[in-house]
């Protein structure tokens, strides 16, 4: 245990995992409230195209590290994707889900093709799809902490206003609250969270980290604020526990974190069901 905490690789990985564990459920709570739990998954697909575009640009610019622009590429693509979805959603278009499907699968297919063109390997691709926390550098830690803090400040600081907009959009509009601006803030927050979490759990599992802790918290919480707070605690717990276990056992951290979260959900659901049976 002490060895693990002294290991500089693990120190960096634990910091990143902790930040991601806290951040994911904040945005996740707003997504669940809007009944858009799968949005994170879709934006993750789009972000893959951004990663690959970053690689391609890096190769073209003859960068020593071709992956250097992968994260900026993911941020740009994920943000554009999230804003596009927000735009479609706010207009309430009938074909919105079909347009989103095209965007999502276009993202992942385009990502795979671009990655091939950029000279990336299947292993590179898997690192982004399922996480590659063992390769976190000091620069990654700085970027993760900065972006994570930004999302936490907006997501927690504006919680009453973001709650109002997500809970009853029509009422929020008649209150004069800047609804559009706040919706854009959630969309950008989702894009940044996904980019940050890509390192830990990967783009295909990122939505799980945003949503499953919220699902667990919902079993017990009585208010929106407590749902978010409990979900943040659970997110950090499963991320740190999952990562620590991989120090001792040879397992894939991203997948382990999500499986732990789902196991906790099943356990919590069982406890709650038994609790209601006993009180009857």
């Amino acid at each position: 245990m002490i060895d693990m905490l002294m290991d500089p690789f693990m120190q960096r990985a634990l910091i990143v995992a902790g930040v991601v564990g806290l951040t994911g459920p904040v945005i996740g709570t707003y997504l669940v409230q809007r009944r858009m739990s799968l949005l994170g998954d879709g934006i993750g697909h789009v972000a893959l195209a951004g990663v690959a575009a970053g690689w391609l640009a890096g190769s073209a610019a003859n960068l020593a590290d071709r992956s250097a622009w992968a994260v900026p590429g993911a941020i740009v693509f994920a943000t554009i994707g999230a804003l596009t979805i927000e735009n479609i959603r706010s207009r309430g278009k009938v074909a919105a889900d079909v347009i989103m499907a095209i965007l999502f699968y276009g993202g992942i297919a385009g990502g795979v093709l671009l990655m091939g063109l950029a000279g990336g390997t299947g292993a590179n691709l898997l690192g982004y799809l399922f996480g590659s926390i063992s390769t976190v550098s000091s620069a990654d830690v700085t970027v993760t902490v900065a972006l994570g803090l930004a999302v936490l400040i907006v997501g927690l600081g504006l919680r009453p206003a973001l709650f109002s907009v997500s809970h009853d959009n029509e009422f929020a509009r008649t209150s004069g609250i800047p609804v559009h601006l706040l919706n854009v803030a959630v969309a950008i927050g989702a894009a940044l969270t996904i980019t940050v979490a890509m390192r830990v759990v990967g783009l295909l599992l990122v939505s799980g980290l945003m949503i499953v802790p919220v699902a667990i918290a919902q079993l017990f919480a009585k208010s929106f604020a407590s749902t978010m707070n409990i979900a943040m605690g659970i997110g950090a717990l499963v991320c740190l526990t999952g990562l620590s276990l991989t120090y001792f056992y040879d397992m894939q951290p991203g997948a382990l974190i999500i499986v732990l979260a789902i196991g906790l959900y099943a356990f919590a659901g069982l406890v709650r069901t038994l609790g209601t049976l006993v009180t009857r």
């Binding site: 709650f163 004069g176 919220v214 009585k222 929106f224």
Partner: protein, 247 residues
């Protein structure tokens, strides 16, 4: 205030005076909800104008002075929210996106006005329909509005909730607030209504004394001379053209 309406609504014009309590009556599909939603800018107006407290509809309207109670269907999301949290959202407006320091006390006080302060920390989903409606009314009352607009506040609501609402409305009236209530019938609130308009197929077919004074004749479904010529397809709702609230 004054309305002048057109397409789901045809030439519906009216002015609501300060301190007046107006009932907006009519059958389903007559355009009542459309009227109030267009007045509040939730629905876009194809023609006409709306003025609230002398300000054209838009960002400059003093939204903090207006309390809106939508039909209950719009409440709720995928995550539980406590009654207090829902009411607290009524304290936010264009100039305030953070709740004030005394938000908690004010939210509980508004819930107390509606007789459900003891449920403040309960998830709204666990409350009965009538109690949920009272939470939405408390959310509008918490900002101490000068104009209260309610869409079917007592439809399908239990007697206790109706009584709580009538009491709150009386307090609002005494404080000099203007009130517009969309409803099917004046019912238990009849004594509080100063004036009523009746809509039928988007036309204003009555404006004046509340129809309870005249029996059911003023309500649509009875032969009635329409004071307005319909300028569109009957039943195709149009949007209000003109709505004014005097400050």
């Amino acid at each position: 205030m004054s309305f002048g309406g057109n397409a789901v609504l045809h030439d519906v014009s009216l002015t609501l005076d300060r301190g007046e309590t107006l009932a907006i009556l009519g059958p389903n599909g007559s355009g009542k909800s459309t009227l109030v939603r267009a007045v509040l800018g939730v629905l876009p107006s194809s023609a006409g104008s709306v003025q609230l407290f002398g300000t054209p509809l838009g960002r400059k309207v003093p939204w903090a002075r207006i309390g809106y109670v939508p039909q209950r269907v719009s409440a709720g999301g995928g995550v539980s929210a406590s009654a207090r949290e829902v009411v607290t959202s009524g304290l936010l407006n264009s100039r305030r996106i953070f709740p004030p320091r005394d938000a908690r006390a004010r939210a509980v006080a508004a819930l107390d006005t509606m007789g459900i302060a003891d449920r403040a920390e309960d998830p709204v989903d666990n409350l009965s329909g009538g109690q949920q409606q009272r939470v939405l009314i408390a959310r509008a009352l918490v900002r101490e509005p000068d104009l209260l607009i309610l869409d079917e506040p007592v439809a399908g609501v239990d007697a206790a909730s109706q009584a709580a609402f009538a009491d709150a409305l009386r307090v609002m009236k005494d404080a000099g607030a203007s009130v517009a209530i969309v409803m099917h019938e004046t019912g238990s609130l009849a004594s509080l209504i100063d004036r009523a308009i009746v809509l039928d197929q988007g036309c204003k077919v009555h404006d004046g004394e509340p129809p309870f004074a005249h029996g059911a004749h003023a309500l649509p479904g009875h032969d009635h001379v329409h004071p307005h010529d319909a300028d569109g397809e009957p039943g195709v709702e149009s949007l209000p053209r003109d709505f004014r609230v005097k400050s």
